[in-house]
């Protein structure tokens, strides 16, 4: 009996059905009879759905025509977007001044992109953001450098959406941290207050808080005092978001081992010092990824202000659709908005996942 020469075994290629495209197909789509069946059924379904949609959206569609040209086509009338883009994005902001919210949003986008990099997470980042927020506020409100004053009642569209989400998060975070600390407190009265607040807010829908801000809150104020409608909705969003942040932060606090508290006690730190120097820096680091998740849902939830008639980007779209010229193209307009929201939210959720991986390195 002779063994085959070693070299011939080495050069034996794997069968063609195990590598390359065919191998991949066999391994991932047709590896058993029911998987093959499933693949075929899914492909048939896709064939039923995708080509007609593609035809509607790209082949039979028009992209930049007057409304009249849309009446006698079968496809999508994307013209509604470019023809109304300045109203959808900026709402009632005066026509000649729309570069201001545009610039403010560009500034915000720049700051967000700058903050993505963890190397920039220093004290200076806070300063940049403060400067940026003041600059954005000035750009929006005007009144200096010869810019016309624009009242908050005319702030609408995308800048309003971003503002409600951003300030909602920035103001809610400290409040949420205090609520979480209060909930962990050994003082019964403080603990009860915080628990009641958190559980109550988390138990009701945001819409009830928005109603509270729009129909109930004016009754709380002394005669003659009125607070701006946008501000009231903003406060409702802050109060709502804070309860959710409190629960996330509590998770971080509970994840702290007892040894950390005991070590802080043994070197003689008081409560404030323990929290500020030992516990919170570690606990908050753990909860960064879920916090981005909260920012994400706060961003999505800002769309609810439509119901109390604030002109966020969803409301401006609806107003556009109620114009008789453009009635009937809701699908196109909503798809455009969905893409807009999707880009923002997907970037956030992706970032949150990336952070989770990066920060998962032990404390």
């Amino acid at each position: 009996m002779t063994n085959p020469p070693v070299s011939s075994r080495e050069y034996l290629k794997p069968p063609i059905t195990e590598v390359g495209v065919i191998g991949w197909l066999r391994g991932n789509l047709f590896n058993s009879w029911y998987n093959s069946l499933l693949t075929v059924v899914v492909l048939i379904l896709l064939w039923q759905l995708v080509p007609p949609f593609f035809r509607w959206a790209f082949i039979d569609s028009v992209w930049n025509t007057p409304a009249e040209a849309c009446r006698d086509i079968d496809g999508a009338c994307w013209s509604i977007i470019p023809r109304n883009i300045s109203f959808i994005l900026f709402g009632f902001f005066p026509d000649g001044e729309q570069w201001r919210p545009g610039l403010a949003m560009a500034l915000m986008l720049g700051l967000v992109i700058f903050s993505r990099n963890r190397k920039h997470w220093k004290k200076s980042l806070g300063i940049y953001w403060s400067i940026g927020l003041i600059a954005m506020g000035t750009l929006m409100y005007g009144g200096v450098f010869g810019m016309q004053v624009v009242e908050t009642a005319r702030w609408s569209g995308l800048p309003l959406t971003f503002m409600l989400a951003l300030f909602g998060m920035v103001a809610a975070y400290p409040l949420g941290v205090f609520l979480a600390l209060g909930r962990q407190s050994r003082m019964p009265a403080i603990k009860t207050l915080c628990v009641v607040y958190i559980e109550m807010i988390r138990g009701v829908p945001l819409i009830s808080l928005l109603f509270m801000s729009s129909v109930m809150f004016p009754l709380f104020l002394p005669e003659g005092v009125t607070i701006d409608k946008v501000l009231r909705a903003q406060v409702a969003i802050i109060l709502f978001t804070a309860a959710y942040i409190a629960e996330v932060v509590r998770g971080g606090l509970q994840a702290m081992p007892r040894g950390q508290f005991e070590a802080a006690d043994s070197i003689g730190l008081n409560y404030n010092q323990t929290m500020r120097l030992i516990i919170l820096p570690q606990a908050l680091k753990i909860v960064i990824p879920p916090s981005v998740g909260i920012l994400l849902s706060a961003f999505k939830d800002t769309s609810l202000v439509v119901i109390i008639a604030l002109y966020d980007v969803l409301k401006t779209t609806k107003v556009t659709l109620s114009n008789p010229k453009w009635t009937g193209y809701s699908t196109e307009a909503y798809i455009f908005l969905a893409v807009l929201y999707f880009i923002c939210c997907y970037a956030m959720s992706n970032y949150s996942r990336k952070l989770e991986k990066e920060l998962h390195t032990g404390r």
Binding site: L38, M200, V204, F220, K300, I307, Y341, C345
Partner: protein
């Protein structure tokens, strides 16, 4: 020094006898809490007195007396009999029932769809898994309100009028008046079938208990689930035959501009249900996926090594452990669905919030109205947490 001396030293309070109260944590805590409570009381009193003054000036009566008055508005759809001549209390009840209706159906459909998508996400079929992943990303990253508007617009703008209604299956019509389908004509057999089903479930529950006790005693297993499923099919069928097997159907027919007969599901309800189910199912899918993945591979391998069949592995090893991880976040998603159903107001479905809003606009009773909304939803969420606590206690790992 003997032991007595040491004890006496330990007993002596080493702190100086007069500690200023701001250095004593216990006393400081009391002061702090009293200040906090006073602050809350003061703010509440301030708001309360303002409110009283405002209400008096606008001459709005406080209290729930308005509930007895005639509502005077119609409600599009209702589970119970309702007309504009009924009281506000009746209208609010109709709203609450509508909320419960859409949430209940939504929860069942979401659980089914979410489980299917979650399992598809884990499928070894690349195409299916990627499609499920795409679905989850797409749905989670678009606000629910926008999705509701979208489905509502599809119903109103893209579906034809009743005369050109789409007819995908026999007896089912889809048009801008909603979804209309045929149902079996009312017959005494249906009640009997319902009872037969309930009896089958009760017997199945008893069999399950008996089977488990017998297994504990003798080690023999009893296929309680399969027997129950068989009973749940066979008993109602027997009842149906016993009543002479009625097959008459109430098929909708086009009369004039609308359909007569059958059951009509309004576009508002359909859009709300569709939006809520598709949105929440994406979150449920992620929960199901995480739950199944949380069961270690070793568990499955060990189960196979002791000779369990694949069905038994799923039933006895994977599911009990995965459900422990799945149920708590699942209940919170169900609660989210119920809370999100309050967005019905945006597309004109008469849920509790929408009816309360109409009531507030008509009577000016803003405080009572918002308080009612909060109370109803708090009731839902508190009862859910009671259930959760019970479940967690029942399912907690018994550690030795």
């Amino acid at each position: 020094m003997n032991s007595k001396d040491i004890n006496s030293i330990a007993d002596t309070d080493l702190r100086p006898s007069t500690v200023p109260f701001w250095r004593d944590p216990d006393k400081r805590a009391i002061v702090f809490q009293v200040v906090a409570l006073l602050l809350v009381a003061f703010v509440s009193y301030y708001l309360f007195s303002n409110t009283q003054a405002n209400l008096e000036r606008q001459s709005i009566a406080t209290g729930f007396g308005f509930m007895e008055k005639e509502a005077g508005f119609e409600i599009g759809e209702s589970v119970v009999e309702y007309s504009a001549a009924d009281t506000y209390a009746d209208a609010l009840l109709v709203g609450a029932l509508n909320t419960i209706k859409v949430s209940f159906i939504g929860i069942i459909l979401t659980t089914i769809l979410g489980t299917i998508i979650g399992i598809s996400r884990l499928s070894s079929n690349w195409l299916l898994s990627k499609l499920a992943a795409g679905y989850i990303e797409l749905m989670q990253n678009i606000p629910i309100l926008l999705q509701l508007f979208f489905w509502y617009a599809i119903f109103y703008e893209s579906f034809p009028s009743p005369r050109q209604a789409l007819n995908p299956f026999g007896g089912v019509f889809l048009c801008n008046r909603g979804l209309i389908f045929g149902v079996p004509e009312a017959h005494a057999a249906h009640a009997a079938m319902g009872w037969a089903f309930v009896i089958a479930l009760a017997v199945g529950w008893g069999l399950n208990r008996w089977g488990r006790q017998r297994q504990a005693r003798t080690g023999q297993m009893f296929p309680a689930v399969r027997v129950t499923l068989a009973l749940a099919v066979v008993l109602p069928l027997l009842a149906w035959f016993a009543y002479g097997a009625p097959t008459a159907m109430d098929i909708p027919e086009l009369r004039g501009f609308n359909f007569k007969g059958g059951v009509t599901v309004s576009p508002e309800f359909s859009a709300l249900l569709l939006g809520l189910v598709l949105y929440t199912a994406a979150f449920v899918a992620e929960i199901v996926r995480a739950g199944i993945q949380s069961v270690g591979r070793g568990q499955v391998e060990a189960a196979m090594a002791v000779g369990l069949r694949p069905g038994q592995v799923l039933h006895l090893v994977i599911l009990p452990q995965a459900l422990r991880v799945i149920i708590p976040p699942l209940t919170s998603q169900m609660l989210n669905l119920t809370k999100n159903s309050s967005l019905a107001i945006a597309i004109g479905y008469a849920d509790f919030v929408a009816v309360t809003n109409t009531t507030i606009n008509q009577t000016g009773q803003a405080i009572e109205g918002v308080a009612l909304i909060m109370l109803v939803y708090l009731f839902f969420s508190l009862s859910t947490s009671v259930f959760m606590n019970w479940y967690n206690k029942k399912m907690a790992l018994v550690e030795r």
